[in-house]
């Protein structure tokens, strides 16, 4: 791989990685699996003929939450493979020999992993439109989904990249990234009672995933305005900025072996 005269290194890496993700088949396969899940969820909620107005709004909220969560999983799967996958396939050495700074390699790989999120969001749009057009929440659902999904995709992609930089093998990287993702999602399953009080509220707002998912619910299900619950977006935004910065800084220490031995 060689960087063109004018194109920055990360751009060249991004082009190569996008071809790998989308023409190599991984992106289309993951997007297809994502559409199957969305179809199953949408079919189950839409065929409930007793669905009243509020439940229909909840259905839109559910589709957006599933899209955001699954989009995050797709990105984390791709990012967790970014460096450790190259190590396992024995191609990292060639990549490190390319005349591209390591941070730019990481930036290109992160951007390519993030490309799965807009694709997933595009797939989700028909379902959101179908369920939300009658209750007038399509516009809000698109804005909220795009906002929360982009923040979560960025932070999860960066998380996967950091894990991939230091993991001993690709299997460990994928397992650890998905474990962290599930641990962050776990509080969303707590009962409403457990989320009351200052401790519950703090946990809800400090965890970027629960905060993002709750923001979706507050706007789409409870009918709050986009701005009135904006404080719930603080944790996802901070996590996205911090983790992306950490990922780019840590990628300067990218080595052939995870421990740092060359």
């Amino acid at each position: 791989m060689s960087a063109g005269r004018s194109a920055p290194g990360w751009w060249v890496v991004l082009g190569q990685e996008l071809r790998d993700v989308w023409l190599g088949g991984r992106g289309p396969a993951l997007t297809f699996a994502f559409s199957l899940i969305l179809s199953a969820v949408a079919y189950l909620v839409a065929t409930n003929t007793a669905l009243n107005f509020l439940e229909q709004r909840e259905a839109v909220g559910l589709i957006v939450q599933v899209s955001v969560a699954m989009g995050g999983i797709l990105v984390v799967i791709a990012a967790a493979d970014a460096i450790s996958g190259e190590r396992d396939r024995g191609t990292l050495e060639a990549l490190l020999l390319a005349p591209v700074p390591r941070r730019q390699i990481a930036a290109g790989k992160l951007a390519a992993a993030l490309s799965l999120w807009p694709a997933a969001f595009l797939v989700a749009l028909p379902y959101v439109w179908f369920l939300g057009r009658g209750v007038g929440v399509v516009g809000d659902a698109v804005v909220v989904g795009l906002l929360v999904g982009t923040l979560l995709a960025l932070e999860l992609g960066a998380l996967g990249l950091v894990v991939s930089l230091f993991a001993g093998s690709n299997r460990v990287s994928l397992a650890l990234s998905l474990f962290v993702l599930l641990a962050l999602f776990a509080p969303t399953q707590l009962s409403a009672g457990a989320q009351q009080g200052w401790a519950g509220d703090l946990m809800l707002r400090a965890n970027p995933l629960t905060a993002g998912v709750h923001y979706v619910g507050r706007v789409l299900v409870d009918g709050h305005s986009l701005g009135s619950e904006a404080d719930l977006l603080v944790a996802p935004a901070v996590a996205a900025i911090v983790l992306a910065t950490v990922a780019l800084l840590a990628s300067g220490r990218m080595h052939l072996r995870p421990g740092g031995a060359r």
Partner: protein, 176 residues
């Protein structure tokens, strides 16, 4: 007997005082009827008038919704996210206006009303404004049958695209 009469007199006095406590405050609304459709938003204003000689402090205005027909479940929280307002002190002869935003989430006939009560309201009746009658027309918001083409169509298109790509790649690899 004398003690009983005294207690009765005290109770009567207390009740009279309680009734008079809010007598200087009244509530009006800017409309008494709303006709709308399911899912539509609407709003009305209520005005709290302090016609008493002194400042009215610590008043709480509360919005409520009730179905006028049996068999319709109503959760007022679904109709309005902000149903309780804590009013600033109202000077003698002054007014305070509150705008209430609602969304009709059930079809049918409903009564919406505003009650104003003092913060130290133990035992005192609230002051209630006139009822706003809300008629919500039924509206079909979801065609359940339409989901099937979508639920099958999107994965089919993506599956064909992914399969076609995989086939092309396989041919390219075997040709190479």
């Amino acid at each position: 007997m004398r003690r009983g009469l005294a207690a009765l007199a005290v109770a009567a006095l207390a009740l009279t005082w309680a009734g008079a406590a809010n007598a200087s405050v009244s509530v009006t609304v800017d409309r008494i009827g709303v006709a709308t459709g399911l899912g539509k938003r609407f709003a009305f204003r209520s005005t709290v008038v302090n016609s008493g000689p002194g400042e009215a402090r610590g008043l709480v205005a509360h919005l409520n919704v009730a179905s006028l027909r049996p068999g319709v479940y109503v959760d007022p929280e679904d109709w309005s996210t902000s149903r309780t307002r804590y009013l600033d002190p109202i000077p003698a002869g002054g007014t305070a206006t509150v705008r209430w935003s609602l969304q009709a989430v059930n079809a049918g006939s409903f009564a919406v009303y505003v009650a104003v009560l003092p913060a130290d309201a133990a035992g005192r009746p609230p002051t209630v404004g006139r009822t706003v009658r809300v008629t919500v027309a039924e509206r079909r918001t979801l065609d359940a049958g339409g989901i099937l083409p979508l639920a099958l169509g999107v994965p089919a298109v993506l599956g064909l695209a992914a399969g076609g790509l995989a086939l092309r790649r396989r041919r390219f690899v075997s040709a190479a």
